[in-house]
């Protein structure tokens, strides 16, 4: 982290408790989810979340490549999170870096814990996440997109996997950080929830929080995840709502 002169720090919290973009501490940025946005993939989704734009595609279950990764009794989940060169202000060097490797790993492991992998032994479920435009919270947006894409691909799962980040900005615990809040805030806590069981399958933290703040942040995050969950279900319903449907 570079040093930031006090003058450069934007006002992150107004005296009347409004954040830099006018949200309250417990408000999420606008989310739009399109399920089945791609033709070639087995399942796909496009997510706009504030100024984030993320595309996710799912292939499989299919033959494992490379072969030695194959598991005899279950499917493996292979995830690749990637940021486009044009997704950030300064051109990002294309390809895998340490950050995207880490995010690929944690997202892949989150899905491994909800997918019924034993139904498809010796196969691979491949998840591709492409960040087209980034504005803080892309791992959460990517996870949400990938989760809707997995459902769209007909993969059996415990539940959809909503995600959101909570953070500490100007001393306050707030939901869903945007870029300025992430850059100049005191803490960032992304999480992913299994709504069916209330279990968290992704939890990371950057910065510092007291025990009390952490407890408050987790509560706020779970509440945010439930809100995101509703939007994910709605996106999947919308996809099949055209025409008169079948059994409906």
């Amino acid at each position: 982290m570079g040093t930031v002169g006090a003058k450069d720090v934007p006002v992150l919290m107004s005296p009347d408790g409004l954040r830099i973009d006018g949200r309250r501490e417990d408000e999420i940025r606008p989310i739009r989810i399109v399920a089945g946005a791609l033709r070639q993939a087995d399942g796909s989704a496009f997510v706009e979340w504030g100024h984030n734009k993320v595309m996710a595609a799912v292939y499989g279950p299919r033959e494992v490549h490379p072969r030695h990764l194959q598991e005899n009794h279950k499917a493996i989940v292979q995830c690749r999170y990637n940021m486009a060169a044009f997704s950030v202000d300064e051109r990002k060097r294309p390809g895998l870096d340490r950050r995207s490797q880490e995010i690929s790993k944690v997202i892949g492991e989150a899905f491994e814990s909800v997918v019924f992998a034993e139904e498809f032994p010796r196969t691979s479920i491949d998840v591709y996440i492409e960040v087209l435009q980034a504005n803080a919270g892309t791992r959460c947006a990517g996870l949400v997109a990938a989760s809707v894409a997995l459902a769209d691909a007909g993969i059996p799962m415990v539940d959809l996997l909503p995600a959101v980040a909570v953070g500490k900005v100007a001393g306050e615990i707030v939901l869903d950080l945007k870029k300025e809040e992430d850059n100049y805030g005191e803490a960032d806590l992304p999480m992913a929830l299994v709504p069916q069981s209330g279990r968290l399958v992704l939890l990371q933290m950057e910065g510092h929080l007291t025990r009390e703040e952490l407890a408050k942040a987790l509560d706020l995050g779970v509440q945010g995840c439930r809100e995101v969950h509703a939007k994910m279900k709605e996106a999947l319903r919308t996809r099949y709502a055209e025409g008169d449907g079948g059994a409906a």
Partner: protein, 251 residues
């Protein structure tokens, strides 16, 4: 209620594990899938493409989670060990029947049976496996209509792959009819709409090459001297024939 296909149970509650329609007919609660890969059932006739040729078998992609091995003894040919490539190459399409599916997802297929074999020529259209019954129609009425009105030869795989052979025009019309079934198959009056489309396009026989253009054959035999020497633009006439004519660089 017992948890059926597409569901799981935690305690006393049954949850859906896949995206689909809820079918609550007792005693089994199940979810009819709306998406997902083709899950083979023994007896299904499917279309596969060869993805690998080994010494004694080929591997076929039938759209299922795993590739299906086709053993040389499951073919009507006398294949010597190691000579598999003489019969089927990677990329070839075959019509086979599913014989078995074991719990690990291994698929057994055979090419021994009436109508089974290699598919030569033609093109393959992929639709959702769930829509295949619509393509066949009641007692084969839909597919009978399609073949009768286009003159195309059609082979249907239960895995949603449909092989179409015939004139380019017939292939195009069949493909469009299949797309209609795939995308609008759940709506009423499907047969009438498909028939309407096929009737409306039956008189149409668009020439493959725009008659206003000199024939491709002719152009290919023209001396290549004109290469690079751009024809001065005709200021008076910019009609369709001159503007549509590609430069010789494209050939």
């Amino acid at each position: 209620m017992r948890p059926g296909r597409g569901t799981y149970r935690v305690g006393d509650t049954i949850y859906a594990s896949i995206l689909g329609y809820y079918d609550p007919r007792p005693p089994v609660a199940q979810v009819i899938p709306l998406a997902g890969r083709y899950i083979p059932r023994p007896g299904d006739t499917v279309i596969g493409t060869v993805t690998d040729a080994q010494g004694t078998f080929w591997l076929l992609d039938v759209g299922a989670p795993r590739w299906a091995p086709l053993h040389i003894t499951g073919t009507p040919w006398k294949v010597e060990v190691g000579e598999t490539q003489r019969y089927l190459h990677v990329g070839d399409a075959v019509l086979v029947r599913v014989e078995s599916l074991d719990p690990t997802g291994r698929i057994g297929v055979t090419m021994l049976g009436e109508g089974l074999g290699k598919l030569d020529g033609g093109t393959i259209v992929t639709i959702s496996p769930a829509k295949v019954p619509r393509v066949i129609g009641r007692r084969g009425s839909m597919i009978e209509t399609i073949t009768r009105m286009t003159g195309a030869e059609v082979a249907i795989g239960q895995n949603g792959r449909i092989w179409v052979s015939g004139t380019p025009d017939a292939i195009e019309r069949v493909s469009e009819a299949l797309r209609m079934i795939d995308e609008e198959g759940h709506r009423r009056g499907l047969t009438q709409r498909v028939e309407g489309y096929l009737t409306a396009t039956s008189a149409r026989a668009p020439p493959l090459i725009d008659p206003r253009l000199p024939s491709v054959v002719q152009r290919l035999h023209e001396p290549r001297a004109a290469d690079g020497a751009e024809e001065p633009a005709g200021p008076d006439d910019d009609g369709p024939s001159s503007s549509a004519e590609p430069s010789s660089h494209e050939y």
